[in-house]
């Protein structure tokens, strides 16, 4: 049974197409990942599914309710964790949760039991009477996820839930989400641009420029790439690319500071490159396929191109200063 059903969804903002005719379904109890670079249309899709935006055309259904025609029913069926923190800093953890229960019209006694239970699960019960202002980023995130689950939603939407968290906190947040999913059997829909987070989803849709370019289990997606990926750093990337094409008939993609291509068995192919390539090779790297490679294979770009670029600029600035 599918709990989310999206058909030919289109969203245009003043002539700009953010979502360009996507269709997919998410089954009950599944964890479904929306993977793509910033600006690919992930958040727009989530906003339509949670009734914050109305689509230009196409249809979206959550828990059997139409997102456009039955917003209250859809809203009661979902829990949401947004990209940015949406807690009230001037309220305590407990008060934030209580506020939520009232908005969702929960029975008072039930609400109190549920808050206590959930605060224990996320390990914040001891801090329940502290102002949220005093919480760390990770604690706020856990509290938000707890809040999203308070009213027993059928689907939990997570929009980049671990953005800006350190790796350790990311791990704890994920452990919590996954344990909860197994225990309560709810459906999780998440967007991310972290490959390792997408990797643990049951199914993934890769989205780019408002279109779904691939959809399936992580294993299925990795099969798109036949064989291994070889990464080369060379003295001159563009001449290396054209040489590879001429000598081996291989189409290589240009990355930030290296090039990459796929071959059947990389370990046997590497010696051949050294013999066949005139361009000087700085380093060679061999990798079994990951979702990153799938994305590069499908789009010819790295998923975190912009981020890498920014990191590069930072580095340059530091060098200049130092």
């Amino acid at each position: 049974m599918s709990v989310i059903q999206v058909t030919n969804l289109v969203k245009k903002y003043n002539g700009l197409t953010a979502v360009n005719g996507i269709s997919f379904e998410v089954k009950k109890g599944e964890s479904f990942g929306f993977l793509g670079p910033n600006g690919a249309g992930k958040t727009t899709t989530i906003n339509i599914l949670c009734t914050l935006l109305s689509q230009t055309s196409g249809s979206a259904e959550v828990n059997g309710y139409d997102c456009l025609k039955q917003p209250p029913q859809v809203r009661s069926s979902i829990g949401l964790v947004f990209q940015d923190i949406t807690l009230d800093n001037d309220l305590t953890a407990y008060e934030n949760l209580k506020f939520h229960c009232y908005l969702y019209n929960m029975d008072k006694r039930k609400a109190e039991e549920r808050i206590e239970y959930i605060l224990n699960v996320v390990g914040l019960y001891d801090r329940k009477d502290d102002l949220v202002r005093k919480f760390s980023g990770g604690m706020k995130r856990r509290l938000e996820i707890a809040r999203g689950l308070l009213h027993n939603p059928k689907v939990l939407f997570l929009d980049e839930p671990t953005l800006g968290l350190d790796p350790q906190t990311r791990t704890t947040v994920w452990e919590f989400i996954n344990n909860w999913r197994k225990k309560e059997g709810i459906t999780v829909f998440l967007t991310t641009h972290y490959m390792d987070e997408a990797e643990v989803c049951d199914r993934i849709a890769i989205i780019d420029h408002g279109r779904i370019i691939a959809c399936g289990t992580p294993e299925e997606l990795k099969k798109i790439i036949r064989g291994d990926t070889v990464y080369l750093k060379t003295a001159d990337d563009s001449s290396a690319i054209s040489e590879l094409k001429e000598t081996f008939g291989i189409k290589a993609a240009k990355l930030h500071d290296s090039i990459s291509f796929n071959v059947e068995s990389g370990d046997k192919f590497i010696p051949k490159i050294f013999e066949g390539l005139k361009t000087a090779i700085v380093s060679v790297n061999l990798k079994k396929p990951t979702l990153d490679d799938v994305f590069i294979h499908l789009t010819g770009r790295e998923i975190r191109e912009e981020n890498n670029h920014k990191a590069g600029e930072l580095l340059k600035m530091r060098r200049r200063k130092g």
């Binding site: 914050l52 029913q73 979902i78 923190i85 949406t86 001037d90 008060e95 506020f99 908005l103």
Partner: protein, 255 residues
Amino acid sequence: MFSYKAIYVIVIREFKRFFRQRGRLLVTISRPLLWLFIVGAGFGSMVNMPANIGYKQFLLPGIIGMTILFSSVFSSISVVWDREFGFLREMLVAPISRATIVMGKLLSGTALSLVQGTVLLLFSPLLGVKLTITNFLLMLLLMSFLSIAITAMGLFIASYLTSLEGFNVIMNFIVLPMFFLSGALYPMNALPKTLHYFSLINPLSYGVDAFKHVLFRNGSDVIGAEFPLLLDIGVLFIFSAVMIGLATYSFERKG
């Protein structure tokens, strides 16, 4: 879905925030007293007042009006605050209607203004303005009319503001002129003609005028009021209704 539970909890939240933000509380209490006792003392010696009334007494209804004006505008601008800090989304995705959110904000803004107006009203014996029980109750009623009108106006404005930077603009070009042109500091008919027209379209003028009707009644005589009381109440009613309608409409449309 219209939800009374949600309205209740929105009001509770605003009250908690109000009493937790120390700075805001301090400003709220001290601002009207500064006006009454410092500005009142300074201007009092320069301004010619109608018979039987000192300038400090004359200021009282205006300063109550000012307190309600600032408090109501500040409360409704909290929508922009909520938007900037993300909390508004928590309310927007809940299974409640936009009208519920507007109503919650309207009630909390009104109630907070009313509390502050009442505290100030209790100072009136100190200024030599007699306060009977009837007057007190009448004032409560009129103060809530004015509070609703201004809060609704603030909510309508807030629905168009996407960042807190707009707040200063609103303060400068709407709130302060409203205060200066309301008859709070000097009688409106003392204003030049063009400015006088502005005070006629200013809802605060009618609120302050209504307060004067209650506080300065001397037998059948009223000192300082410039409109009939029924007109004051009528204008506030119509203004509130229009603003509540506009605010709800614009929240429904834009969130």
